[in-house]
């Protein structure tokens, strides 16, 4: 199995969102909602940051 940077970032975001969603909310519905929001923010934020850094190479 080949691991891609984007794929690993998505898996990482998934784990963190599941744990924080479960930790911060009590009702399963709220956990799913909060976890989903976190996951979206992580993935979209990561991709956005990647594109910003694309224009400022080290």
């Amino acid at each position: 199995m080949r691991a891609s940077h984007l794929g690993l970032m998505i898996v990482f975001a998934l784990f963190v969102s599941v744990v924080f969603g479960t930790l911060m909310r009590d009702e399963p519905k709220e956990q799913l909602r909060f976890g989903g929001q976190l996951f979206t923010a992580f993935v979209v934020g990561g991709i956005a940051l990647g594109w910003i850094l694309y224009f400022f190479p080290l």
């Binding site: 691991a3 690993l8 784990f15 963190v16 599941v18 744990v19 479960t22 930790l23």
Partner: protein, 131 residues
């Protein structure tokens, strides 16, 4: 009066035992407190994350006083509980620096440990009746 003091001591001991279980096995504290859904979620997510860190060739850091960042990473990984010591004893987590996924593996291992510390604090709050 004596009964109240004894009750408090018993309650404190119970709380610390819950925290110890929560640290040793991710989610165990919540399971013991009857929060099955949360406990099972933490157990599956944190153990999988730890195993994935090992699979990605991350390193289980030793505590090296001369290298504070390495020592901090080791402390963070130890937050993952017994799995850290079992994996080290089994010879896993050597960390291959040249592997493409080395840093990802470290991130998975360290964050799994840190999140388990938060889970322990949550179990502590529940055991204290704050949640």
């Amino acid at each position: 009066m004596r009964a109240t003091t004894a009750d408090r001591e018993q309650s404190a001991t119970y709380t610390y035992l819950i925290c110890l279980a929560a640290w040793a096995i991710p989610g165990a504290g919540h399971l013991l407190l009857g929060r099955l859904q949360k406990g099972l979620t933490f157990l599956v997510a944190l153990v999988l994350m730890f195993l994935m860190g090992l699979w990605l060739e991350g390193r289980l850091f030793p505590i090296e006083v001369r290298q504070p960042l390495v020592a901090l990473a080791a402390l963070a990984e130890m937050g993952g509980g017994v799995a850290f010591f079992v994996a080290r004893q089994a010879g896993a987590g050597g960390g291959r620096v040249v592997a493409l996924t080395y840093e990802y593996g470290n991130a998975f291992l360290i964050v799994a440990g840190l999140m388990n510390m938060l889970v322990v604090l949550d179990a502590f709050d529940i055991a204290q009746g704050r949640k």
